[in-house]
């Protein structure tokens, strides 16, 4: 299978390291990248994206802390087998708050509620 690409927007208000984390996490949850797969080294990805090494290193460190990546010194960056932790009620509350904000933003922009519900269900199914 062809490995996926990663895209960052330098004009976005979201910091580049967070964009990298979010996109990689999406690929990891969706199965685009599987446990055991190797990722580009910090240097390689930084050169390809044209960003500072520290930006990529920071993103990899965040994902390693979440248990997704093995970033041991001197070895290739690899995806780890990671069991989904049970979400605490606090975590669920936090995501519900963020979801409400996102839905409100979408509704304010004119996206119909029924369409939102359909998209949300489809997205949850894809990222199971």
């Amino acid at each position: 299978m062809q490995p996926p690409d990663i895209q960052i927007d330098l004009d976005s208000t979201t910091p580049v390291n967070r964009q990298i984390v979010e996109q990689l996490r999406l690929q990891l949850v969706a199965g685009g990248i599987r446990p055991g797969d190797a990722l580009p080294s910090v240097r390689r990805l930084a050169i390809d994206l044209g960003v500072h090494f520290n930006t990529v290193a920071d993103a990899y460190r965040t994902l390693a802390e979440e248990g997704w990546l093995d970033v041991s010194q001197g070895r290739a960056v690899r995806v780890r087998e990671r069991a989904m932790p049970p979400a605490s009620s606090k975590t669920r509350q936090m995501f519900l708050r963020r979801l409400r904000q996102l839905v409100a933003e979408a509704r304010a922009s004119g996206v119909p509620a029924a369409s939102l519900a359909r998209d949300l269900a489809a997205t949850a199914e894809t990222l199971k």
């Binding site: 490995p3 690409d5 990663i6 927007d9 580009p40 050169i47 390809d48 044209g50 960003v51």
Partner: protein
């Protein structure tokens, strides 16, 4: 007019032709080193800029031809050496000057960057063999010279004029015999260093949709570089063996033909590279226009790449904003200084 003038004039004309075409060997969304909207090159403004540049190129070529003729009439080598310099430096200056008229039409450099999550980049074409073969050629030549040491003439030509007349001689010594091999070893090491930099220290297509083109472009550059290393190595080995082949006399016609044939053998690789630039999917290179000085010198301390694609000509150039590069350049200069001191 000496008998050499036609050859020299032909070389000057060939360089003029190359400079005439060079601005067209580019990524599709670049015009004179500036990021432009797609298909800008078909507009009258773009064509006007191209015509202005080409007028300069041919004016410089006429001046260079005059230098060659004057060098022949006055028997001075200074004017002969000045001809290609006038052409190259003049064309670079013309490129920088006309580039300024393109800047008002510049498109914003794409803010969205893309990168493959493929971990390992492609290696050198042919893998380790591409490195071992030239090294083996140099080693075999050195061993042969060592074995045939007594057969090397006590005095032999070490440098020739363009018409094949020796203009510098050397006595049989290890410096004179192995000097070309040492210099050659250093030159091909530098070429492999550039190849390694392309593989490991250059971007693999920063703009979404250009990855496939970039991969082909990188491959074509690496193939040309490896072929050039082999050709240079073969030429150096041949030059090193000349004292044995010619017995210290004037080299036969073959001495001039062999390097020419080896150079000509690179033509298919160059053609392949140039043909790639016709592809309209090549987009832009993802480097900011503001970091290109005169459209030719890349200085971007925020870019971790050591080498990036050229915007004037086909191939790769250095990122002078990268601090590691300066250490590498210093090391290379020291290497050359060491070899020159040895010779």
């Amino acid at each position: 007019m000496t008998h050499l003038d036609p050859i020299d004039i032909a070389i000057v004309a060939l360089v003029g032709l190359l400079l005439h075409w060079i601005p067209l060997w580019r990524r599709h969304d670049l015009w004179f080193g500036v990021t432009v909207p797609p298909d800008f090159s078909d507009t009258p403004q773009a064509q006007l800029v191209l015509r202005r540049y080409r007028r300069w190129v041919w004016l410089l070529t006429v001046v260079a031809v005059a230098c060659v003729l004057a060098a022949g009439a006055l028997h001075t080598s200074v004017l002969m050496a000045a001809a290609p310099i006038i052409q190259a430096v003049g064309a670079a200056a013309a490129f920088a000057v006309v580039r300024r008229s393109v800047l008002p039409f510049a498109a914003q450099s794409p803010a969205v960057r893309s990168a493959p999550l493929e971990p390992t980049p492609e290696g050198l074409p042919g893998g380790i063999v591409s490195i071992l073969v030239p090294l083996a050629m140099l080693a075999a030549t050195a061993l042969y010279l060592h074995g045939e040491w007594s057969e090397i003439p006590a005095r032999f030509p070490a440098h020739w004029d363009i018409d094949g007349t020796p203009d510098r001689w050397a006595d049989r010594s290890w410096r004179a015999a192995y000097g070309p091999l040492l210099t050659g070893g250093l030159v091909i090491s530098c070429m492999f260093l550039v190849a390694e930099a392309i593989v490991h220290r250059s971007p693999r297509g920063r703009i979404a949709g250009t990855e496939a083109w970039t991969a082909r472009f990188r491959r074509a550059n690496l193939m040309l570089l490896v072929a050039a290393v082999w050709a240079v190595t073969a030429t150096i080995c041949f030059i090193s063996l000349l004292p044995l082949l010619t017995g210290g006399g004037q080299p036969a016609l073959i001495a001039g033909v062999v390097p020419l044939v080896l150079t000509a053998s690179l033509a298919p690789f160059i053609v392949q590279l140039v043909r790639l630039t016709r592809d309209r999917t090549s987009g832009s290179d993802g480097t900011p226009d503001t970091c290109w000085k005169f459209g030719q010198i890349y200085i971007n301390p925020n870019d971790p790449a050591l080498v990036v694609e050229k915007r004037f000509g086909v191939g790769y150039t250095l990122n002078f904003g990268n601090r590691a590069l300066w250490w590498i350049l210093m090391g290379t200069l020291l290497g050359f200084a060491f070899v020159i001191a040895l010779r």
